[in-house]
C-alpha cells in the first residue's frame, strides 16, 4: 500500500490512502445520503402531549439556508424533531450546527427555508414561543457576581409560568451552591446552572448548544443525568455536539452534519449498522510499507478499508477472523506492526467513513 500526500487545498487529513465511504461505487460501506428513517426512529413511547393543543412535530425545518460573507454556513437543512424525543446534531466545529439551532430558536434569521416550532412560526408567535422554550447557548457567561439562586430568580422572572427555583436547584444538584457566586463555580457547575436557567420555565423543548464542550467526564455525566431526567418528565430535547459518545448516549435520533448539510440521519444504531460491520480495527505500519488495498480487502470479515492520519482502518464484521488473518498477512509480508486497536464501531466511525475526517480535529 502506498501513501500519497493529498493535494494542497484539501480539507481532509494530510495523509490518506483511499476512502471508500466517499465513493458511491464502494458499495460495502456506503451509507445512503439522507437516510430517511423518521418512522422507525420514533421513540417507542407516545410523543409527549403534556400541554393541550397541537400534536405535530416539536421542530420542523425545510430547506434552511444561512449565508455569511464568503461562506454558506447552512446549505439546505431539512429536519424534524418528534415530541418527546432527544434529537442530536453531530458534526465537527464549523459544520453549521450552531447556526442551525440558533435559526430554529429564532435568534438568527434564515436566508432561506422555513422553521416551525411547536407548530408556530417566529414571525407570528414569538412572544408565545419564547415562553415555552428553554435554551443554553454556546459561550454564554452568566453574571459572575450574582449567586446561583439570584441568577435563577432573575431568569424565572421572565416567564409567566414555570417551576420554583428550589426545585430546579435540586434537579441540577446545585442546592448546596445556592449562595455561591457564579464566578466561584467550576465549569461543570456553571454549565448545570445554564441548563437550570433553561429549565425554570418548564419548557416544552430544551435546546442545548454543545452543552458539555470542555467539561471533564464526571461533569459531563452529571449533565447527561439532568437531561435524561428532563426527558423522563416528557420533555423534548434538541442538542448539538461534536462528541459522538454524547450523541450515542443521549439521542434517540442523530443527524450527522458536515459543511452545512445533513449527510446522514437516523438512530445511532441504524447509522452504525449502515457501516455494514460493527467492529473497527485500526493499525499503524511503517511509512512506505508495501501493502496493497486488495490484500486487506480480501481478508475474511473485512468490509471496508480506509486510511487517515497514516493509520489504516478496517471495518470488520468478525474480529476473530479478521485479526488473525491480518496478523498472518503482515507476517508473510514482513511488515512490523507498530500499533493495533480494535473497538466497537461508533458514530465517529460513521462520520469518518462518510467524510474521511475525524469529528474533532485537535
Amino acid at each position: 500500500m502506498t501513501f500519497r500526500k493529498r493535494p494542497a487545498g484539501g480539507n481532509g487529513p494530510g495523509w490518506t490512502a483511499f476512502r471508500p465511504g466517499l465513493f458511491p461505487e464502494a458499495p460495502l460501506v456506503e451509507i445512503p445520503r439522507h437516510v430517511r428513517t423518521m418512522e422507525s426512529a420514533r421513540p417507542a413511547r407516545a410523543p409527549s402531549a403534556r400541554r393541550s393543543g397541537v400534536n405535530g412535530p416539536a421542530v420542523e425545518c425545510r430547506g434552511l439556508v444561512k449565508r455569511y460573507p464568503g461562506v454558506l454556513a447552512v446549505d439546505g437543512i431539512d429536519l424534524e424533531v418528534v415530541r418527546g424525543e432527544c434529537f442530536g446534531m453531530l458534526g465537527p466545529n464549523g459544520a453549521g450546527k450552531t447556526t442551525t439551532i440558533e435559526m430554529i430558536q429564532g435568534l438568527l434569521r434564515p436566508d432561506g427555508g422555513e422553521v416551525r416550532v411547536l407548530g408556530m412560526t417566529w414571525d407570528r408567535h414569538e412572544t408565545d414561543l419564547r415562553q415555552r422554550l428553554g435554551s443554553t447557548l454556546q459561550e454564554t457567561r452568566l453574571p459572575e457576581k450574582l449567586s446561583v439562586e439570584e441568577v435563577l430568580t432573575l431568569f424565572r422572572s421572565f416567564y409567566r409560568r414555570g417551576v420554583d427555583v428550589e426545585g430546579v436547584l435540586q434537579a441540577v444538584q446545585l442546592g448546596e451552591k445556592r449562595k455561591a457566586w457564579v464566578g466561584k463555580l467550576s465549569g461543570g457547575q456553571r454549565q448545570r446552572l445554564a441548563v437550570a436557567c433553561a429549565l425554570v420555565c418548564e419548557p416544552d423543548i430544551l435546546f442545548l448548544d454543545e452543552p458539555t464542550t470542555g467539561l471533564d467526564p464526571q461533569s459531563r455525566r452529571q449533565l447527561w443525568g439532568v437531561i435524561t431526567e428532563f426527558r423522563g418528565r416528557g420533555g423534548t430535547v434538541m442538542l448539538t455536539t461534536h462528541y459522538m459518545e454524547e450523541a450515542q448516549r443521549l439521542c434517540d435520533r442523530v443527524a450527522i452534519v458536515d459543511r452545512g448539510r445533513i449527510i446522514a440521519q437516523g438512530t445511532p444504531a441504524e447509522l452504525i449498522a449502515a457501516l455494514g460491520a460493527e467492529h473497527v480495527v485500526e493499525f499503524v505500519a511503517p511509512e512506505g510499507t508495501d501493502l496493497p488495498q486488495e490484500a486487506l480487502q480480501a481478508l475474511p470479515g473485512v468490509r471496508a478499508v480506509a486510511g487517515a492520519d497514516g493509520r489504516i482502518r478496517l471495518t470488520v464484521e468478525h474480529l476473530h477472523l479478521a485479526v488473525p488473518a491480518l496478523m498472518r498477512t503482515l507476517e508473510s509480508r514482513n511488515i512490523a506492526l507498530m500499533e493495533l486497536i480494535t473497538h466497537h464501531a461508533t458514530l465517529e466511525d460513521v462520520f469518518i467513513s462518510l467524510t474521511g475526517r475525524h469529528l474533532r480535529d485537535e
Binding site: 447557548l137 422572572s157 420554583d164 457566586w181
Partner: protein, 346 residues
C-alpha cells in the same frame, strides 16, 4: 408553580448588585470624588497673604536701621545678612528681594517673579511711609472670605456634576457592553425578557446609586469645608435626577454598538474628556475665548455644572435653572432615542 417576581425589579436588582459587589466601582463612585475634593480643597485653600521675605546686606552703613524700619511693616520680614549669603538666598528664591542700604536704597530683584514684584511694592511703600509720605486719597477694604466665594465652593458642584456624568456613563455603558461581550444579551433574547425592561433596569439601578452618591459629596463639602446649599434640596435632587438620566442616555448611546470593553472605554473617554476640560469642573469655562462659548454652553456637563452652582451657591430656584434643564433634557432624550435605534443585542 412558583410565585413570579417582577422582571423589571429583578433586572434592576441584578444591575444594582453587580455594582455594589464591585469594589473598584464603589471606589470611583464614592471615595474618588471625596478624595479629589479633599486634595484640591487643601491645595487651594485661602491663606492669609504670605509675608515678603527680604534680605539687607550687613556691609552697607545703616543696614540695621533699614532692616528695623522694614520689619515694622507686618507684611515684611527683613533679615540682616552678609552680602554673599544674601545674594545666594535671592538666587535660590529663599528671599524675594535684597535691599541695599544707603542714602538712596537700591532694590535688587527679578521683576518676572511675582513674589519679588509684590515684595518690591511693599518695600517701596514701607520706605516711603517711613520717610514721611502721607496718603492723599481714602480707600476702604471689604474682605471676602465667607463661604460661597472660595475655590472649594466653586469646585464641589463641579465634582458633583463630574461624578454624575462619570457614573452615569460608566454604570450604564460598561454594564451593557459587558453583557454583550459575555453573550448574556443574546441569552436574554432567547428568553421572553422584554427589551425595554432591560434598558429601563439599567437606568433605574443608576438612579438608586444617585440617591447615595450625591449626598456623600454634598455632605462632605459641607462638613469639611462649609460649602453651602443655598437653594432648595428639592431643586438639587431634581437636577441630579435629570442629569443622571441624561448621562445614562448618553451612556446607552455610546454602548449601543460597541462589542468590547476596550472599544467602549475609548468612546467613553472621547465623549467625557473634552467635558472635563471645557465644562467648568475645575476652573470656570469663561477662561476660554468668547468664540468657544456657544459650543461650551451646549455641552450637557456645562449645563449641569452651571445649574448645580446656581442652586448651591446662588440659591437659584428650580424655575431659575430652566435653561440648563432644557439643554440636559434635549441631550438625554435625543441620545435615548438614537440609542434605541442603533442598539445591537448580539
Amino acid at each position: 408553580m412558583s410565585e413570579r417576581r417582577s422582571p423589571l425589579g429583578q433586572l434592576t436588582l441584578w444591575r444594582f448588585r453587580e455594582f455594589v459587589r464591585e469594589p473598584e466601582a464603589l471606589f470611583w463612585v464614592f471615595a474618588f470624588p471625596v478624595l479629589l475634593a479633599l486634595a484640591l480643597g487643601i491645595a487651594f485653600r485661602n491663606r492669609s497673604l504670605p509675608v515678603a521675605r527680604v534680605a539687607v546686606p550687613a556691609e552697607a552703613p545703616g543696614a540695621a536701621q533699614l532692616a528695623a524700619t522694614l520689619d515694622g511693616d507686618p507684611r515684611i520680614e527683613a533679615t540682616v545678612l552678609d552680602s554673599a549669603t544674601a545674594a545666594t538666598r535671592l538666587r535660590t528664591g529663599r528671599v524675594a528681594l535684597v535691599v541695599h542700604a544707603g542714602d538712596a536704597p537700591v532694590l535688587e530683584y527679578d521683576s518676572t517673579r511675582s513674589e519679588s514684584d509684590v515684595a518690591q511694592l511693599l518695600v517701596r511703600d514701607a520706605l516711603q511711609r517711613a520717610a514721611g509720605r502721607a496718603d492723599v486719597a481714602t480707600i476702604r477694604d471689604r474682605r471676602l472670605t465667607e463661604p460661597g466665594a472660595r475655590y472649594i465652593d466653586f469646585l464641589i458642584p463641579g465634582l458633583i456634576g463630574l461624578n454624575i456624568m462619570g457614573t452615569g456613563m460608566w454604570g450604564v455603558g460598561f454594564g451593557i457592553v459587558n453583557s454583550r461581550q459575555r453573550k448574556l444579551l443574546k441569552r436574554f433574547l432567547a428568553s421572553p425578557m422584554r427589551k425595554r425592561h432591560f434598558l429601563l433596569a439599567n437606568i433605574m439601578a443608576r438612579m438608586a446609586f444617585l440617591v447615595l452618591e450625591v449626598p456623600v459629596v454634598v455632605l462632605f463639602g459641607r462638613l469639611a469645608f462649609g460649602v453651602p446649599v443655598r437653594g432648595s434640596w428639592l431643586a438639587l435632587a431634581l437636577l441630579a435626577v435629570v442629569g443622571a438620566t441624561t448621562f445614562a442616555g448618553i451612556g446607552l448611546l455610546v454602548a449601543s454598538r460597541a462589542r468590547t470593553i476596550e472599544g467602549v472605554s475609548g468612546l467613553m473617554n472621547l465623549v467625557m474628556v473634552p467635558m472635563w476640560i471645557f465644562s467648568g469642573v475645575f476652573f470656570a469655562w469663561s477662561n476660554f475665548p468668547d468664540s468657544f462659548e456657544p459650543v461650551i454652553r451646549a455641552l450637557p456637563l456645562t449645563a449641569l455644572n452651571d445649574a448645580l452652582r446656581a442652586v448651591m451657591l446662588e440659591g437659584a430656584s428650580l424655575a431659575g435653572t430652566a435653561q440648563w434643564l432644557a439643554v440636559l433634557l434635549a441631550w438625554g432624550l435625543a441620545s435615548f432615542f438614537v440609542a434605541l435605534r442603533l442598539f445591537r443585542w448580539e
